[in-house]
C-alpha cells in the first residue's frame, strides 16, 4: 500500500458512483457583507445526503462529500470559507477532514450543510 494506490482507488470509486461538484473560494466585503467568488474548481466527488435530516423542517440538510486530490489540483484542500455547489445548489462546508498517508494527501472528506 502506498499513497498512489490509495488515490487511484479513491479516483476509481468516485468515477463509479460520483458526480460533478464545484468548489468556490469566497471573500466577504467587510463593509456590506456581500459574498464574492475569488476562485473555483469543478471536480468529481462522491456525494451522500444524510437521510435522517429529512425529518427536520425546512430545506437545509447535511451532506457528506468525498474528494480526491486528483480533482482538486492546484485548488488544494478546501477551507471552511469555501462553498460547494452540488447539483447547482450551494452548501456551506462545516467540517473538513483531509486524510494523509505517508505525508501525501490521499482523500478529503467534507461535511456540508445547505
Amino acid at each position: 500500500m502506498n499513497p498512489s494506490t490509495i488515490i487511484a482507488r479513491t479516483d476509481a470509486a468516485i468515477a463509479g458512483y460520483g458526480q460533478s461538484v464545484t468548489l468556490q473560494r469566497t471573500a466577504i466585503d467587510g463593509a456590506t457583507g456581500g459574498v464574492s467568488v475569488t476562485d473555483e474548481i469543478t471536480c468529481a466527488a462522491a456525494v451522500r445526503n444524510f437521510i435522517p435530516q429529512d425529518l427536520e423542517a425546512g430545506e437545509v440538510q447535511d451532506i457528506r462529500v468525498v474528494l480526491s486530490p486528483t480533482g482538486l489540483g492546484a485548488y488544494g484542500v478546501p477551507s471552511r470559507d469555501d462553498r460547494i455547489l452540488i447539483d447547482g445548489n450551494p452548501s456551506n462546508i462545516t467540517q473538513i477532514a483531509p486524510l494523509y498517508y505517508g505525508g501525501t494527501l490521499c482523500r478529503v472528506n467534507l461535511l456540508c450543510r445547505g
Partner: protein, 151 residues
C-alpha cells in the same frame, strides 16, 4: 376593518428585502434559496392582545389592540475579512430605520405602535461561517374578532 396581521407581515418582508445590501429575504423559512448573504428571514412570531376581549354578546365586536411580534433574523457570512458583529449591527440599524420610516407599516399600526425589543446574537457555530442576529419588532394594531367572520 381589514385584519392588519397579514398586511404587516407581508409588508415587513418587502421592506427588509429592499434594505440596501440585503441580497435575499424570505418568510417562515430556515434559510433563503442559494444561501444568499446577507439575508433576512421573517418568522411570523406571536400575536397577543393588549386589551382583554372580555365576554358577553358584543365581545366579538369590541375593538382590541393586538401586539404582533415577528422575529427578524439577519444572516451574514463572516470571518475571512469581515467582522460578522459589525455587519449584524449595520443591518439591524438599516432594517429598524427602514421599518420605522415605511409609510404602509406606519399606517397599519396605532399609537405609534412599532417597538424595537433588542437583538440577540447566537454564539457562533464552531464549524461554520454563518452568523445570525435575531430581533423582535412589535407592531400594535387594531383588531375586531367579528371582522374575521367575513373571511
Amino acid at each position: 376593518m381589514a385584519d392588519q396581521r397579514e398586511a404587516i407581515l407581508t409588508r415587513l418582508v418587502e421592506v427588509c428585502g429592499a434594505v440596501t445590501g440585503i441580497v435575499a429575504a424570505a418568510r417562515n423559512k430556515l434559510d433563503v434559496p442559494g444561501l444568499a448573504r446577507p439575508a433576512v428571514i421573517v418568522q411570523d412570531g406571536a400575536e397577543t392582545f393588549l386589551d382583554a376581549p372580555g365576554t358577553g354578546r358584543n365581545a366579538a365586536r369590541r375593538l382590541l389592540r393586538m401586539e404582533l411580534s415577528p422575529l427578524i433574523v439577519v444572516i451574514v457570512r463572516g470571518d475571512n475579512g469581515a467582522e460578522a458583529g459589525t455587519l449584524l449591527t449595520l443591518y439591524r440599524n438599516r432594517i429598524v430605520a427602514a421599518v420605522l420610516n415605511d409609510g404602509p407599516l406606519g399606517a397599519s399600526v396605532v399609537d405609534g405602535g412599532i417597538r424595537y425589543e433588542g437583538i440577540s446574537v447566537a454564539a457562533p457555530d464552531a464549524e461554520a461561517r454563518e452568523y445570525r442576529g435575531e430581533f423582535n419588532l412589535v407592531f400594535t394594531s387594531l383588531f375586531r374578532l367579528s371582522d374575521l367572520a367575513g373571511v
